[in-house]
């Protein structure tokens, strides 16, 4: 979301600036030549007299108006969401000093947990998703469910003990037993 915002924000700002410049140009131009004949009476950059005629013809009930309004509202909603969701997504860790802020990303935590889980005996494959609140591990292994889940949970908890995370995430482990010959 932050990347989207980095691209969108200057574009929106430039669009606002362009709209302002066009508004000034058209208003000043229309002011300075009020007595021109009808045929020449057109906008300098924007053909606004044609737009004016079209807008005067349409009523609020006419066909494209509600559709355009809904599209505008949806675009606005998306912009608001981009703005609100472009927060920093990082996990805080305890630093050795108050003047030191330590952060890492959920992706790094997931990678750490994944390496630890895959190094467990009897695990053939594992996928991990991590956020500040929860670490979810889905693993496939040879031994029976209970035992494998217990050993994976123990290894992940051991890893979390070593990381000075501000907030310790909840660990949830799902295990699928692998059938067939080893």
């Amino acid at each position: 979301m932050r990347a989207v915002l980095r691209v969108l924000a200057p574009l929106i700002a430039l669009a606002l600036a362009a709209a302002g410049v066009l508004l000034v140009i058209e208003v000043v131009a229309a002011w300075l030549r009020p007595s021109l004949p009808e045929a020449v009476d057109d906008g300098v950059v924007v053909p606004w007299p044609a737009w004016q005629a079209e807008l005067a013809r349409l009523t609020w009930r006419s066909e494209p108006v509600p559709a355009v309004a809904i599209v505008v509202a949806v675009v606005g909603l998306l912009l608001v969401l981009v703005g609100l969701l472009a927060r920093r997504s990082h996990l805080g860790l305890d630093g050795p000093d108050p003047a030191i802020t330590v952060t890492t990303s959920p992706r790094v935590l997931a990678q750490l947990v994944g390496r630890r889980v895959r190094a467990t005996e009897d695990v053939t494959s594992a996928s991990v998703t991590a956020s500040g609140r929860r670490v979810s591990v889905t693993a496939q292994g040879w031994s029976d469910d209970q035992q494998l889940r217990a050993s994976i949970t123990a290894r992940v908890e051991e890893l979390l003990d070593q990381l000075p995370l501000h907030r310790r995430p909840v660990v949830s482990v799902t295990v699928h037993e692998r059938k067939g010959p080893r």
Partner: protein
């Protein structure tokens, strides 16, 4: 200033150094998006006759409004020009702020009279980065100075080895790198934002 508020100020500056602030961009997006959302919703409701069938049958460019503007032509023009200028200035300022690169403050030392010593931002940051990369458990490190020139802060990214002990690495960073940097750069306080990443590892062979 009491010690407690100094500490909390340092902590705040360290937290601000974690990443470039997106507050301006975010408020712009929320403001413009909110206006579009409200305007679009109101027009849609009007169009579907929520505010009365008679109102929705009026033309978009209402003759009543045109008449009112014609009656106050000068005022309407001045307001339009003022609004246009305000939009243009605001838009350009906003765009410039959001594409401007993040400042890298140089450091000014005041050790000797009659002499001004300036340490280039990149040089200082690279020196700290090299020292940090030499710590045990750290594969790579990158540092840069951020913030205003009077109150610089350090942002440092550490790529940790797989078996690194995070607590030990952070303690060594504070003890061996940052303490020395504060001393040699003559900074009483240097807020630091550390970002931890994982160094790429070559996977062990699947088959022995």
């Amino acid at each position: 200033m009491s010690a407690a508020s100094a500490t909390s100020g340092l902590r705040k500056r360290a937290r601000a150094a974690v990443a470039r602030s997106a507050a301006g961009d975010r408020s712009l997006a929320v403001l413009v998006g909110g206006l579009l959302l409200v305007a679009g919703t109101l027009v849609a409701l009007l169009s579907y006759g929520v505010f009365g069938a008679g109102r929705s049958a009026r033309p978009l460019l209402d003759p009543l409004i045109i008449e009112a503007l014609r009656a106050q032509a000068l005022a309407a023009r001045l307001v339009a020009i003022g609004a246009g200028l305000a939009l243009a200035v605001l838009g350009v300022v906003w765009a410039a702020r959001s594409v401007r690169p993040e400042p890298r403050p140089d450091l000014h030392l005041t050790g000797l009279p009659d002499t001004r010593i300036v340490i280039d931002s990149t040089a200082a940051a690279d020196a700290i980065g090299h020292q940090a990369a030499a710590l045990p458990g750290v594969g790579r490190a990158r540092a840069r100075l951020v913030g205003p020139e009077q109150r610089p802060a350090l942002r440092i990214t550490l790529w940790l080895a797989d078996d690194a002990d995070v607590r030990a690495v952070l303690a060594a960073l504070e003890r061996e790198v940052l303490a020395q940097a504060r001393e040699s750069l003559e900074l009483d306080a240097l807020p630091v934002a550390v970002r931890l990443e994982l160094d790429a590892v070559t996977p062990p062979p699947r088959v022995a």
